[in-house]
């Protein structure tokens, strides 16, 4: 039994949201907090490219214009940050990871997303395929701001938001699962918010 905090709850927020959409331990925000471990990179789109390499028969790469020319989707999802905020009904535009992997032949079951600024995060391929992940370039109809990961970030809304790597530059497919930046620093390897997989051992 957790201890009761005498008098707590009198100022409870009662946001008008469906509680079934809020994972355990999360609360809903209306703004869009920023979390990152270092300075924000500002890569001009002329110097930007997106690469798929690692354990693949042939590496692929797109320039910014080539990336924008790929079939894109606009979709609305809820996002959940391990620091406990959730933001409901966020609308993004980008390219499905399924589209990016369409012509890739691989034995890999994992990938490492790598980014400007040195950030990495690891994901199982099954967590980023079948319409579960995108590389997005627009948020709410506007180009994605650099502090939120622009020009393009990964978006994997069914996992905690640190998996949705900002400033994405590549997906390196791997045979073994290699812990990324936060995964090596105490955070859960998969990060399912509905299972409250926040930290090692959760």
């Amino acid at each position: 039994m957790p201890p009761i905090s005498r008098g707590f709850g009198a100022r409870r927020r009662r946001p008008e949201v469906d509680p079934a959409r809020v994972p355990p331990g999360q609360y809903v925000v209306r703004d869009f907090p920023v979390l990152s471990a270092g300075p924000t990179p500002h890569t001009p789109v002329e110097e930007w490219s997106l690469t798929i390499d690692g354990a693949v028969d042939e590496a692929l790469s797109w320039s910014w214009d080539e990336f924008l020319a790929l079939p894109s989707e606009t979709f609305t999802v809820d996002i959940h940050c391990v620091t406990k905020w959730s933001k409901l009904a966020t609308t993004w535009t980008g390219v499905s990871v399924d589209t990016l992997l369409e012509d890739v032949s691989t034995e890999a079951e994992y990938l490492t997303a790598w980014c400007d600024g040195g950030y990495t995060t690891n994901l199982a391929l099954e967590d980023v395929t079948d319409g579960r992940a995108w590389v997005v370039h627009d948020f709410e109809g506007d180009p994605l701001e650099s502090e939120h990961g622009g020009p393009a970030r990964l978006l994997v809304p069914h996992l905690y938001f640190w998996k949705s790597a900002k400033w994405l530059r590549g997906l390196a497919l791997t045979i073994e699962d290699e812990p990324g930046f936060w995964e090596a620093a105490g955070y859960h390897n998969r990060g399912d918010p509905w299972q409250e997989q926040r930290y090692w051992g959760d």
Binding site: P2, P3, I4, S5, R6, G7, F8, G9, R11, R12, R13, G25, Q26, Y27, V29, R30, D31, F32, P33, V34, L35, S36, A37, G38, P39, T40, P41, T83, K84, W85, Y110, G117, G118, N122, E147, E176, D177, E178, P179, F181, W182, E183, A184, A185, G186, H188, N189, R198, Y199, W200, G201, D202
Partner: protein, 250 residues
């Protein structure tokens, strides 16, 4: 077995523990330090944070994260909490909490925004408002260990009476403490009186050539600005560790 699976298997779950409030210190009108007794606290590194969980009488729970203010050497765990308007948890902590009250904590959390004396220096700490909290844990750790690592702190606050740990900052001795007051400066103020800029960071030092370990903490806009300025001055982006909190908090 894949390394990740191994890590997950070896690590034990960080469990929720009951914290009892032993003392409360008013730092400013809006900020309060909670001095906690947590039996079997497993220890922490300066810069880490804890998750807290409050349970209301009807079972309603709310969780938040707060930076640890105390040094690892301190016998009590201390959190400094700033009141966020309409924040249900911070308002409870700053206005309602009494000595003897209990709630749950889970931690320590975070393995990146940390500093130990063994990591060495020089150390450049840049704080916006209550972003000072985890950086103060580093300075308290340095003092507790009797370290003489070159350490500089630049703190940006709006007004002098909003500066937390004021007396302790003044007594830090060999730490280069610089304060800038962005909204209002008292008569005879000797510190900076403007928003953080390149000239100010250069004056505070240490220079990029001495390759300091840089920690920046504060509201998002402040951290973005400070980190951009530091990179432009020539600091290695990989040596700048940042922690941001949005206006939401709670």
């Amino acid at each position: 077995m894949a390394r990740a699976a191994l890590l997950g298997r070896l690590a034990s779950r960080i469990r929720w523990q009951v914290a009892t409030v032993r003392d409360l210190r008013e730092e400013t009108a809006e900020t309060r330090t909670l001095v906690l007794d947590v039996p079997d606290w497993r220890g922490h590194l300066a810069g880490q944070h804890v998750d807290v969980r409050l349970t209301a009488e009807d079972g309603y729970q709310a969780e938040r994260s707060y930076s640890i203010a105390s040094a690892p050497e301190s016998p009590k765990l201390e959190l400094t909490v700033e009141h966020v308007p309409d924040g249900e948890v911070s308002t409870y902590f700053v206005e309602d909490l009494l000595v003897g009250d209990r709630f749950e904590v889970r931690g320590p959390i975070g393995g990146h925004f940390t500093w130990r004396v063994e990591d060495g220096g020089p150390l450049l700490l840049v704080a916006g408002g209550s972003g000072l909290v985890p950086l103060m844990a580093m300075l308290r750790h340095r003092a507790a260990r009797g370290s003489d690592v070159d350490a500089r702190l630049l703190l940006s606050a709006r007004r002098l009476h909003e500066v937390i740990y004021r007396d302790e900052l003044a007594a830090l001795g060999d730490v280069g403490v610089s304060i800038t007051l962005t909204r209002e400066q008292p008569d005879g103020w000797q510190g900076f009186g403007r928003r953080i800029d390149a000239e100010m960071l250069e004056a505070v030092g240490p220079p990029p050539a001495s390759a300091p370990r840089v920690f920046v903490c504060g509201p998002t806009g402040f951290v973005e600005q400070a980190a951009d300025l530091l990179v432009a001055l020539g600091h290695d982006p990989g040596a700048i560790r940042a922690e941001r909190f949005g206006p939401t908090g709670g």
